[in-house]
């Protein structure tokens, strides 16, 4: 056995070295150098004693008063607070998102047309785009603020179903409107889908008591493959803002690569594994009060719906060669030109953002293993800046704005 590392000494000191405990103890008896090093560590750590247990100050009356004041403060205005605090308010909010979603991109299209003639209409475009893209953020807010994280109550299930619908409205609407168009049903199919989703909340959900560790491992493994492919895709979309010709060249190379049978199988297989393992983990990642976990869960929901729409569109619909495919045509860069293409702008932008959030949150957790918290925080800020820049450049390119053509 070679010499022990400092970290192994620490684990041994705290009895956290598991099955190696006997081997470590034996080594410490036989190796004078390690024994000395361990003794130095043990001497220092044993001298770090906890502060003596003290009586808590008798400040119960003060705490009572403070809780009274704080609770009163929480129950009073601002006006929006009761809406966000109460379960009913959250529920109304999450269900309003899918109900109003068809109006949002119509408003986006109208405001874009107005902005073409009047430059003062630009803030209106930004506002309507935020409205159209707001669903997943509303979902995260609702899940984080919900009171309980079990799904035994119908009201909690209704809230979570609403959050799911709010999150996946953009891709789901594209699929539903495609079917709706062929059956000439207008918006009725969309509202029926919303009603169906609310009905699911009335039934008890199966308990997911199994361990998700194995699913998580497979999920991450398949995510690696997709990350390479999707990152290249996103970077190329961002290139389109700087140079359309560079984008076209890159796209043709990537298309040749991704259309190889082996590569295509790998990508489609990874997407299928992602969704199957994501579904198997179910709602386990959702937890009241845990912003990062909920952000990862919601971005996962969105990505599943996005990839299903994007990658499997040719398989889902019998006429992929038709002019109105569900997945947007990638060389179509003026998405604000028509009301139908406008619906693809929030869908694509949220796809990019969901991917960056989903990968970013995992990368942050992984980085915490190797780096100090302060360094991870600084890296997170830098990553957020880069991510925002990428989303903005992709957005500008999709709106037909290019530095060079």
């Amino acid at each position: 056995m070679s010499h022990l590392s400092d970290d192994e000494f620490v684990l041994h000191y705290y009895g956290e070295d598991g099955s190696r405990i006997v081997a470590t103890e034996r080594h410490l008896r036989s190796c004078a150098q390690c024994a000395r090093a361990y003794e130095a560590l043990a001497r220092t750590l044993s001298a770090v004693t906890p502060p003596e247990f003290v009586e808590a100050a008798d400040d119960l009356p003060a705490i009572r008063q403070l809780l009274h004041d704080r609770l009163r403060g929480q129950q009073s205005p601002p006006a929006v607070r009761p809406l966000l605090e109460g379960e009913a308010g959250l529920m109304a909010l999450v269900w309003l998102v899918p109900v109003l979603y068809p109006l949002s991109f119509q408003a986006l299209f109208s405001s874009a047309r107005f902005a073409q003639e009047h430059i003062v209409g630009m803030p209106l475009v930004a506002l309507t785009l935020m409205w159209a893209c707001g669903g997943p953020f509303v979902a995260v807010l609702a899940l984080t603020r919900m009171a309980v994280d079990r799904f035994e109550r119908a009201s909690t299930r209704l809230l979570v179903c609403g959050a799911l619908m709010a999150a996946i409205s953009p891709p789901l609407f594209l699929v539903v409107s495609r079917v709706s168009l062929s059956l000439n049903l207008g918006l009725w199919l969309w509202y029926s889908a919303i009603a169906l989703a609310s009905l699911i909340a009335l039934f008890r959900w199966p308990k997911t008591s199994h361990s998700t560790a194995r699913f998580l491992y497979v999920h991450r493994l398949s995510a690696l493959v997709l990350t390479v492919f999707v990152s290249a895709h996103i970077i190329n979309q961002a290139f389109a803002f700087f140079s359309l010709s560079l984008y076209t060249m890159m796209r043709s190379i990537m298309r040749v690569a991704s259309q190889q049978p082996a590569m295509y199988t790998l990508i489609v297989g990874s997407v299928a594994i992602q969704m199957a393992t994501g579904a198997a983990m179910g709602m386990k990642r959702v937890r009241a009060g845990a912003l990062a976990r909920n952000l990862q869960a919601v971005s996962g929901w969105y990505l599943a719906a996005f990839l299903l729409t994007h990658v499997f569109s040719a398989l889902l619909f019998s006429q992929p060669q038709a002019a109105t495919t569900v997945a947007p045509s990638v060389n179509q860069f003026d998405l604000l030109a028509g009301p139908r293409s406008t619906a693809q702008l929030p869908y694509l932008l949220l796809g990019v953002a969901a991917f960056l959030f989903h990968v970013g949150i995992y990368a942050r957790l992984a980085a915490l293993v190797y780096l100090a918290e302060a360094s991870v925080r600084r890296l997170s800020y830098a990553a957020m800046f880069v991510g925002t820049t990428v989303v903005l450049t992709v957005g500008l390119a999709l709106c037909g704005i290019h530095l060079t053509r």
């Binding site: 970290d7 620490v10 750590l45 004693t49 502060p51 400040d59 119960l60 809780l67 009171a147 100090a372």
Partner: protein, 177 residues
């Protein structure tokens, strides 16, 4: 929720308050911050009482709230450089190296407590919380990871870094002997 609910809640947590306070004190290192953490924890616990409904152990649930409130509190303090600005490790090491009394007596002295406190002030909030839970509270790494909401490996790494900082700050005391 009404006044009766609040009174019932306060009487329920009263027997755990001493332990909660001491946990907050060990994590934050001073009484005023510990009091702030306890107030915030009790408010959070009261507001999210529904989440406790069927959990078996009230103390475990309250501890988790205290730990996370303390973590938030420490992070908040770090964003305010006017308060509790952690000392650079080099300062602590210099101070430690300059004094080398009898180690037996040293560890019981107020000066030693100040040295330990200063060494802990060099830690990041997560390092401080994970170290406190492991070293003072005797929690396992698995428990710490679950309480703080990080992976087991991340919890281990934070403890390793915390121990490294403690050693760097305090070992000059022994090396002089």
């Amino acid at each position: 929720m009404n006044d009766g609910d609040l009174e019932a809640f306060l009487s329920l947590v009263e027997r755990h308050r001493r332990y909660m306070y001491n946990l907050a004190l060990r994590i934050t290192g001073n009484e005023q911050d510990a009091k702030d953490v306890i107030q915030e924890s009790l408010l959070n616990a009261y507001l999210h009482l529904e989440q406790f409904e069927r959990r078996a152990d009230l103390r475990t649930w309250l501890n988790r709230i205290v730990v996370n409130c303390a973590l938030d509190h420490l992070r908040g303090l770090r964003r305010r450089p006017d308060r509790n600005d952690p000392r650079p490790l080099s300062d602590v090491v210099d101070t430690a190296a300059s004094s080398s009394p009898d180690p037996e007596r040293l560890v019981t002295s107020a000066d030693w407590r100040r040295q330990v406190s200063a060494a802990m002030n060099t830690m990041s909030p997560l390092e401080r919380v994970t170290f406190t839970l492991r070293h003072f509270e005797g929690c396992s790494i698995n428990e710490i990871a679950q309480t703080v909401g990080i992976g087991n490996n991340a919890a281990k790494q934070h403890i390793f870094r915390a121990v490294r900082k403690i050693r760097l700050a305090l070992e000059p005391h022994w090396s002089g002997q």
